[in-house]
Symmetry: C2
Amino acid sequence: MSEATQVVMSLIEAFNANDLDAITDHFTDTSVYHNIPMEAVTGAAAIREALNGFLGMSTAIDWVLVHIAEGEDGAVLTERVDRFEINGKWLELPVMGTFEVSGGKIQAWRDYFDLNQFQSQLA
Amino acid sequence: MSEATQVVMSLIEAFNANDLDAITDHFTDTSVYHNIPMEAVTGAAAIREALNGFLGMSTAIDWVLVHIAEGEDGAVLTERVDRFEINGKWLELPVMGTFEVSGGKIQAWRDYFDLNQFQSQLA
């Protein structure tokens, strides 16, 4: 497994442990996180803040990796089912995400999903 | 380039030529196309029908490949900007898609995007 893929697997483990410190440690001050239907967020501190409210609501997290593939250009592409336990109920979100890794850190992360599919489960 | 990746590149070329016959030729009677926010469609004939109305509206198609990667399990993952010229205006949809290829044909195709992001441009 290449270093880039290892970094992405490590990020997924940190989510599954619902460990915000460990998650934040995968980013730098110039990292960009774009949850595609929303505005992009830049920098580890802002990424932490963007994730904080949502992870705080979750009593458990279980991201199921369907496929992972690393391109010849080094980008790591994932297909996942992101599961979150909120108020005693599991939400399931089918999602794909691209990760661009450099120097052992995630420099860019873009996740693609249908926002309404997610919000309708939250309601 | 592996055969699976070649098949996916060939499908993208067929879309960019807006050639419905060539597109349909990439699927079999058991292929499943799931445009994630919508219902899944099974079989080349049904996939053709699902695509037909939309491609017919498009006077030009330009899918820009951002990243492509093939996993060790043979799945081909793509990040794209799918552009469609409709009524003299270009719509742009950021999307990711997974392709499972077998015997030179696409057996499964799942595309992930925000449906509202697309529909708001169509309006």
